[in-house]
Symmetry: C2
Subunit: 346 residues, 2 copies
């Protein structure tokens, strides 16, 4: 029996078809570890300007594809363009991360627009439209958004914090207010993803980077259910487009999440043992992950062993090779090359 | 059948005997949320001076017992007195957390003493000795240390970081160097706990606060095995003294940890679903935890519901009521009183 190579191995894996060698992409694959990214980034006045300028975002998206030949390209953007388009003040301090004018009460919530300013987001759709034709024929195009909980946690804290306590406190003290914000984000994000798909995204990923800070009952209420609602709305508009969810830190709640989210694939963080995920998650779900980004920084034997554990652990399943979290800015390019060679020769 | 009230309900629960209402203590129960603590803390020149002055540490340990009537008192100290006694430079910047002169190579490791300066740690033992007679007869006295991985992660980074990446990188790149540091900490910590027990500690807790940042293979190598070695050494010297381990963030690795650590009880963090822990962990293990410290800050219905979920979830087991992480400085004293009333009337 021979495999006939699918047109886009990444999409075939998302459809549940195990590939002879796993397709590869890396979260944050376009970014600061690449000298060619730093070069174009320096030309933009701000990070948000960069995100809203298709000449930059198209180029940034293509750079890692040219250099490493990944099987998927992910739209260069940021999850916080949604609060920006909802009218919240968003900026990025260099080296400091995002800064937002925090929403802490009903009055703050009332200042948000009912739906995103789609004109403001039009550069995102233009980027996807241009990428459709710019990408090699076997490379898939991924769109994305942040999950409601994760985006809300930034909107309330005004920044990243060690455990997003400000949002967790609001959720405890003013659950109705918090639910209203989450509902707004479910609606906005579903429409945002549907428009990305209409513009050319062949798959979309929902990043719930802060899922891990919530206790089980809050995890179900603020992560699982909103993501499930968001996915259902996307599926209603684009039933054939696969959705990947990345509930970072879901840990013991992972099977519950996978059972309820309605997605085609789950992105797994570094804490997940591959064999345990294979055993615990539904067999028709593609699994994506989960090399430790620090092993990619470290290189050498630690990198090789980490790669091999991922390849062996997921070997029996439709698997997409990725990191367990975003690639770190200090990652040597040579280590990414070494990783690609090892995955390809597996 | 009636329960005869044991002399110390906390120790009875650690021995696996389910209590009519769970004994209670809180991680960091002596500390900044108490005005009487802030008052005495202001009299010491530095946090380390405070930790090494029995007049302060005895009083700080007793304060929450007087105010709330907890069932156990925990030695007031810090996990970083061990690196301090090993000769590393340690200080605490106010509002900034600990600062250590980082160990990044073999030369740095070689500057550490072979064993702790026990004279430097003598105030810790004196504190325990004085507490033995100062505590009410039904209140147990807990000693503690940091787990090797957690202490090593501070010794290498020189501070707390979001994911203790510096130590994880050294562990990947220089595993022999890292193993030598871990071994040093296993030896020092085991002897330190044995001396705490000799001085009056009736139980000891090993805090592995940073266990959650390690991928599964590294978790087994750098958390589980060193804690198991540490516990075995303590047991060899003090076979009857119960040991509690708190592997914060162990998540899907919790059952493996519990099976290998050789402890009497496991402290559970906020991410653990009580019913799942009851089902997954050996029946002779007492379970300690795991109210969300932010629910205690929030108060109101969120607090009451959180307490009830903990009480109901662990109800069938020998359970010690505690938080899932340390109490936060902004916690209102009235919320702790409300919690105690609710647990007591359960």
């Amino acid at each position: 029996m021979t495999f006939s190579k699918p047109a886009k191995p990444f999409l075939a894996a998302l459809a549940g078809q195990r590939q002879p060698r796993p397709p590869v992409w890396l979260m944050r694959q376009a970014g600061r570890y690449l000298p060619e990214y730093r070069e174009i980034r320096a030309r933009a006045a701000s990070f948000l300007d960069f995100c809203y300028t298709p000449a930059f975002t198209v180029e940034a998206t293509l750079q890692p594809i040219r250099r490493f030949g990944f099987d998927a390209a992910i739209l260069f953007s940021d999850i916080l363009v949604v609060p920006d388009a909802l009218g919240q003040t968003v900026s990025f301090e260099s080296g400091e991360g995002p800064r937002l004018d925090p929403i802490t009460d009903a009055e703050g919530l009332s200042r948000l627009k009912a739906e995103p300013d789609w004109q403001k987001l039009s550069p995102v759709f233009e980027t996807l439209d241009r990428l459709k034709t710019a990408l090699p024929g076997d490379v898939a195009l991924i769109g994305f958004c942040g999950a409601p909980w994760t985006v809300a946690s930034y909107m309330i804290a005004g920044r990243g914090t060690p455990d997003q306590a400000p949002a967790r406190l609001i959720a405890y003290r003013q659950p109705n207010l918090f639910a209203a914000l989450i509902d707004r984000l479910v609606e906005a994000s579903a429409e945002y993803l549907a428009r990305q798909i209409a513009a050319g995204a062949e798959a979309v990923q929902v990043f719930d980077s802060w899922a891990g800070v919530l206790p089980p009952a809050e995890f179900e209420r603020w992560c699982v259910k909103p993501v499930a609602a968001l996915v259902a709305k996307v599926k209603a508009k684009a039933p054939k487009t696969p959705v990947i969810a990345f509930p970072r830190g879901a840990a013991t709640q992972l099977a519950k999440f996978a059972g309820m989210a309605g997605v085609s694939a789950i992105g797994l963080d570094t804490a997940v043992e591959p064999a345990a995920a294979v055993a615990a998650l539904p067999g028709d779900l593609a699994l994506q992950g989960n090399l430790d980004p620090l092993a990619l920084v470290a290189g050498g034997a630690a990198l090789d062993e980490g790669i091999d554990r991922v390849l062996q652990g997921f070997g029996s399943r439709a698997h997409i090779f990725n990191l367990g979290h975003g690639i770190l800015p200090e990652t040597p390019v040579a280590h990414v090359e070494r990783m690609m060679a090892r995955v390809r020769s597996a």
